[in-house]
């Protein structure tokens, strides 16, 4: 067991999978000698050589389609897209090539590629470098979408993603890369599609992913100070959604707050809210509270950006609303 940063945990997962399987290759912008702008692929060029760790031109649409083509021919490419804001450039390849290929071709190919990217606001990176576009990728059948909050999950899920026969969109968060956590040394891959209860409680269920899990846990702490014991679910996988864990918790607490860092309208949290209200209709004692990013392009100036983002305070307030 080591204490690692989230970026280091990802780096370890890449290293271990590359050592284990010679068909695992990395590509993306500035990922080779420089090790990636967030240093997730640090030292891997030196360890595995230029044929397996490749810098690319700035050509996200083509890179994504290349992952489709390379993976169907036997490589296991891991593509880094520098910012989640650039996912729209990848979407044609995801929606029109990756999504249909396995089903429409009746299983003739596997598409074992991973598209890693990072999103999230709070760093003053502005409207084009701060978004979480979870909803856009989670909407696409045939893909899996993973969004870990903690270093241990980051490592174990990235390993699973690399071994998976389907395309996996792996969503990281710029403000989590430096966060520390215990990471088991020889952890096996963690199954994709399983949420995790990261805090138990009986009064209300807080459901989040990625950095919003940290905010939800902080909210739970505040609520506990007021005698309210919140259960916190870290989704870890956004598609396929682990409804079993979610519904069981809501049937126990009878209340739910759902949070996603993307835009609220038609966002990922709408799926959570809808799924819960549809399946747990008779168990719910209060309307599901849904929190997301303000429906605006993300502003740069600190007070504006802060006002746009969901946070622990807003989550705690929403939880209290379910208890009124």
């Amino acid at each position: 067991m080591a204490k690692l940063r989230y970026a280091q945990a990802l780096n370890a997962a890449l290293r271990e999978e590359m050592a284990r399987d010679p068909t695992v290759v990395l590509f993306g912008e500035d990922i080779a000698a420089y090790g990636g702008v967030f240093k997730v692929s640090r030292d891997l060029l030196q360890e595995f050589g230029p044929a397996r760790v490749r810098d690319t031109p700035i050509s996200e649409a083509t890179m994504t389609a290349m992952a489709v083509g390379a993976s169907m021919m036997g490589l296991r490419p891991v593509l880094e897209i520098m910012y989640a804001d650039f996912l729209p450039l990848c979407l044609d390849a995801l929606v029109n090539q990756a999504s249909p290929a396995r089903f429409i071709w009746a299983g003739q190919v596997e598409l074992p590629f991973v598209l890693r990217t990072q999103g999230g606001a709070g760093a003053g990176a502005g409207a084009q470098h701060s978004k979480s576009l979870d909803a856009m990728v989670a909407h696409i059948p045939g893909l899996k979408v993973v969004a870990p909050a903690f270093p241990a999950d980051a490592k174990a899920l990235l390993k699973a993603a690399i071994r998976d026969p389907d395309p996996v969109i792996f969503l990281e968060h710029k403000l989590l890369y430096n966060s520390f956590g215990e990471v088991p040394d020889d952890a096996p891959p963690e199954p994709i599609g399983k949420a995790k209860i990261v805090r138990e409680g009986a009064a209300v269920t807080l459901i989040a992913s990625s950095r919003m899990v940290i905010e939800a846990l902080a909210a739970a702490e505040t609520l506990a100070g007021g005698g309210v014991e919140a259960e916190v679910i870290d989704l870890r996988t956004l598609r396929p959604l682990d409804t079993e864990t979610i519904f069981a918790s809501v049937r126990k607490t009878h209340r739910a707050v759902v949070v996603n860092e993307g835009w609220r309208f038609c966002g990922y949290a709408a799926e959570l809210s809808a799924a819960i209200a549809e399946a747990c209709f008779y168990a719910l004692d209060a309307p599901v509270q849904r929190l997301g990013l303000a429906d605006r392009a993300i502003p740069y100036s600190a007070p504006l950006e802060a006002a746009a983002l969901p946070n622990a305070e807003a989550i705690a307030a929403a939880a209290l609303r379910t208890l009124q």
Partner: protein
């Protein structure tokens, strides 16, 4: 590009390719009739007049090579040796089709014969082929990826990105532009700032070759040369095959934009007639015999395909990540 008959070269080979072109023509004749009879769904894209490109280029490939096709893929499919009956099964949406009826006419794939695959996103196959070529290179297969695309597709962003990356990485890919003078209804002169797409190869420091696309042997040898370069590690080649779409863009074309003069000028360059001419007058009786056989074969394939059952709607109830 003259209308003179090609030098016969290897007459046995030319006869084989002649037969393949005729098979494509007969297939499309049958399809047009089937479409009128309401046996197919959606518009069908025929390649009358362009058969020499698909047939000639695929004739230069080896079994391990892989092809990405377009919405106009009949010559590519048959050139690559796909079964008439299973191609037709797919077009008729039957369980016997290459993709169990899920793909339809524009997206046919046959992994075993390296057809991966048809594509109805214009330009969509180009970057997929670059990814395939990357895998073929990284896995030391000695194989090449050939990407068919149109003059319209040459204007897409991914075409540029793909050529740049393929040239930079010296990937074993052949970019085969079928210049048939139209992208749907708009003339190439209204879509491309240059007449010869091949000129753009200079922008990627790769060879750009213009070939008479109605001369099946010329297409074959240009492709063979490009494949040899690719296998030798010398990287990609852009081949521009000048040809002409003798009918509408699809069975739903309402016409009116291809001038009578233009069509008349191209009529004598029909690649099938040119191949026949090159085979000389002695070929005539043999031709009649071949055509009778081919027609019987195509008719039998239609009958078999139309007799096959439709897939079961229960396919859709499979779990999302189980495709077969």
């Amino acid at each position: 590009m003259s209308a003179s008959p090609p030098a016969p070269g290897d007459p046995a080979l030319l006869e084989t390719l002649f037969a393949r072109m005729v098979e494509v023509r007969f297939l499309e004749e049958g399809l047009r009739a089937a479409h009128k009879a309401g046996q197919t769904r959606g518009p069908l894209h025929c390649c009358d007049g362009q058969e020499a490109v698909g047939v000639g280029a695929t004739a230069a490939l080896a079994p391990g090579d892989v092809v990405t096709s377009t919405h106009r893929g009949h010559a590519h499919y048959l050139g690559r040796g796909l079964s008439l009956e299973r191609v037709l099964g797919e077009i008729f949406g039957r369980a016997s089709g290459y993709c169990q009826g899920r793909a339809g006419h524009m997206l046919i794939a046959d992994r075993a014969r390296g057809m991966l695959g048809g594509n109805a996103i214009v330009g969509g196959g180009i970057p997929v082929a670059v990814g395939q070529a990357w895998a073929l290179q990284a896995l030391n297969t000695g194989a090449v990826a050939l990407s068919f695309f149109g003059d319209g597709a040459a204007q897409t962003g991914v075409c540029h990105e793909s050529m740049n990356i393929a040239a930079l990485w010296r990937l074993p890919v052949i970019f085969l532009c079928e210049h048939n003078e139209y992208g749907l209804t708009v003339a190439a002169s209204q879509q491309s700032a240059v007449r010869d797409i091949a000129v753009r190869a200079q922008g990627y420091a790769m060879p750009g070759v213009v070939v008479d696309g109605n001369d099946v042997l010329a297409v074959r040898s240009a492709t063979a040369e490009a494949a040899a370069r690719a296998r030798a590690g010398e990287g990609p080649t852009l081949i521009e095959a000048k040809t002409y779409r003798m009918t509408g863009f699809s069975t739903s074309d309402m016409g009116g934009y291809q001038s009578r003069e233009e069509m008349a000028a191209w009529a004598p360059r029909d690649p099938i007639e040119r191949a026949a001419a090159a085979l000389g007058p002695a070929f005539a009786p043999r031709r009649a015999e071949m055509e009778a056989q081919l027609r019987a074969r195509v008719e039998a394939a239609f009958a078999a395909a139309l007799a096959a059952p439709f897939p079961d709607a229960g396919d859709l109830l499979l779990p999302e990540y189980r495709h077969a």
